[in-house]
Amino acid sequence: MGKKKELSPVQERYQELQKKHELKKPILKNCLRAFLVGGLICTVGQAITYFYIYYFNFTEQTAGNPTVATLIFISMLLTGFGVYDHIGQYGGAGSAVPVTGFGNSVISAAIEHRTEGFVLGVGGNMFKLAGTVLLFGVFSAFVVALVRTLLSIWGVL
């Protein structure tokens, strides 16, 4: 949000007009779709988790790791064949919030920039969209772990 500027009467009237014609977002419908798509992706993830627990001796706690990798592999195929775009249009945040969305942002950036060459194009742009998730994830994890470790060293925790 920018700074609120003093508006002339004409500008105010324009703002009112704009507000009247602005498309109302169907929030409830969007949320329902996000719930369905996101829930389904997590259910598929749960099936993959059980697959790793029964056939590869992972435990409930450690099976999340290979599950995430498998889901990213699936999202590579879906992104490459152009299916993920459609899922994203229908599901909104339901397709963006699961790790498949993270995978999709990496893979689509990689595919999109391959015409610029593998070093500068693919290598340089791969984390264009996902980089912010990495940065804030790593930095917040660093702060959280630092605070907790310091607290336990000082004997507070």
């Binding site: 949320c31 259910t43 999340g64 590579m76 909104g92 969305g101 693919v122 912010t132």
Partner: protein, 118 residues
């Protein structure tokens, strides 16, 4: 086994609804939304609240991006218990290595296999 699928669906779906509300109501970009969710996951793990959610909802908690922040913080904390402050840096990617390496490897393979459309 069946209740686990149910709770994975419900909890995973609800986390996505939170994301959708951040899109629609708070008018945040996907980048901002993802960043906030990742930070939320790391902070929740700092209070020890994310592990119980994983036990309860399985993939409903490990598949959304919040688990990425959780496993980053978790790895750092586990290593910090053994090696003190240095462990915060050395343990950071210990748990979450598969997500990052999968994204890089499959991202590159995807770029080799597929041509951009349009």
């Amino acid at each position: 086994m069946l209740p686990m699928f149910f709770w994975a669906f419900v909890v995973g779906g609800l986390i996505c609804v939170i994301g959708q509300l951040m899109f629609d109501v708070a008018n945040l970009t996907p980048g901002h939304t993802m960043s906030i969710l990742v930070v939320a996951g790391a902070v929740l793990d700092g209070f020890g609240l994310y592990e119980p959610l994983v036990d309860f909802a399985g993939a409903g908690a490990t598949v959304p991006i919040t688990s990425f922040g959780n496993s980053l913080a978790h790895g750092a904390l586990m290593e910090a218990e053994q090696h003190g402050l240095v462990g915060v840096l050395t343990g950071m990617f210990e748990v979450t290595s598969s997500g990052i390496s999968a994204a890089i490897v499959f991202g590159f393979i995807g770029a080799l296999l597929f041509k951009p459309k349009g």
